[in-house]
Symmetry: C3
Subunit: 138 residues, 3 copies
């Protein structure tokens, strides 16, 4: 069994942003030499997500609005967590969007449907953060 | 290490439907010959989910109503994504229900609790779509 | 390829509770002898979650309130599932928080960011339930 890992680093200048990391994950899979296996991609911070959806800017703005409605940032005083911090809502948005994706590797490639793209979803940016890509297989 | 995969195809006639795919996933695991390992089952389309919950029709109608409340399809004009399409809410429902499940294989069987059943959740049907079952292990 | 599994048992006295199971998962990983691989941790019951977030009591009370707002337990009669049972809302809360996490194992350790902690999330307690830890790798 082979295994390989890389960290992907991010420093988003806004509070929220969705970044397409599919090309970077593809590179890591190629470097791993794994032809058949699994690729785990997860946020290593608890106010960020890794998720798979469409790379369409209209949808991304819809998702941001929708998440804001379900888990509003303001007023920050509504959350017990927001004593020293102000990111309670970011923890909630991450629960909806998920921490991680597991993708099959077949014939050395991400085994994807036609529109699947992997995103890093930042909900509390303006600091350095990372995601993990871990590949296992043969 | 062994690996094996199969696609499961769906053509749901309604916009939304939940289909119990547990028997099909069990067959794939049997064919794989894997006794100890992991089984990934994921939707390959971004307006569909694979999730594990109860096979109870009352719960399924509750879930449909609940998802409609959290991410309403109508009015379609409320979403920037709905220019050429009308499926923005389907992308959101899929985020709540998730893209994939990873299930342990122990002694050649899905290592399941008493009520766990795997569902394909369609949120934008009336077209051909597929899910992936990927098994790795020994 | 090595594989190893253990069940973690819970009997929560309240309806809802979040329990930090990181130390128990670490022990299982150590016993597995796996140095490079993946660790799946999943609830085996469909009204419970396993998720990764912050071990901060303010956040936990925020999450409980937030889940109650998104999927209210009362009135129980609003759900078709609640004929013999009263746990429909628990099934929904589990969908938001997720069934499982997959964590990378690197150098024999959970490959975690600075604040990642694994929780068992109970939404319909007062009965015996279990989670599964399955480790594969080398």
């Amino acid at each position: 069994m082979k295994s390989y890992k890389e960290y992907l680093w991010f420093e988003v200048t806004k509070r929220q942003e969705f970044i397409n990391i599919t090309p970077k994950v593809r590179e890591v899979v190629k470097k791993s030499g794994v032809k058949e296996g699994l690729c785990l991609v997860n946020a290593m911070h608890i106010t960020a997500s890794v998720f798979i959806n469409d790379d369409e800017s209209g949808l991304h703005s819809d998702l941001e609005k929708w998440l804001e409605k379900l888990a509003p940032h303001e007023p920050v005083s509504q959350y017990a967590h927001n004593k020293a911090e102000d990111n309670a809502a970011a923890h909630m948005k991450r629960e909806i969007m998920g921490r991680e994706v597991v993708v099959a590797i077949s014939d050395g490639e991400l085994d994807f449907g036609p529109w699947e793209q992997i995103f890093y979803g930042e909900f509390d940016g303006r600091r350095k953060k990372k995601a993990l890509v871990k590949v296992i297989g043969e």
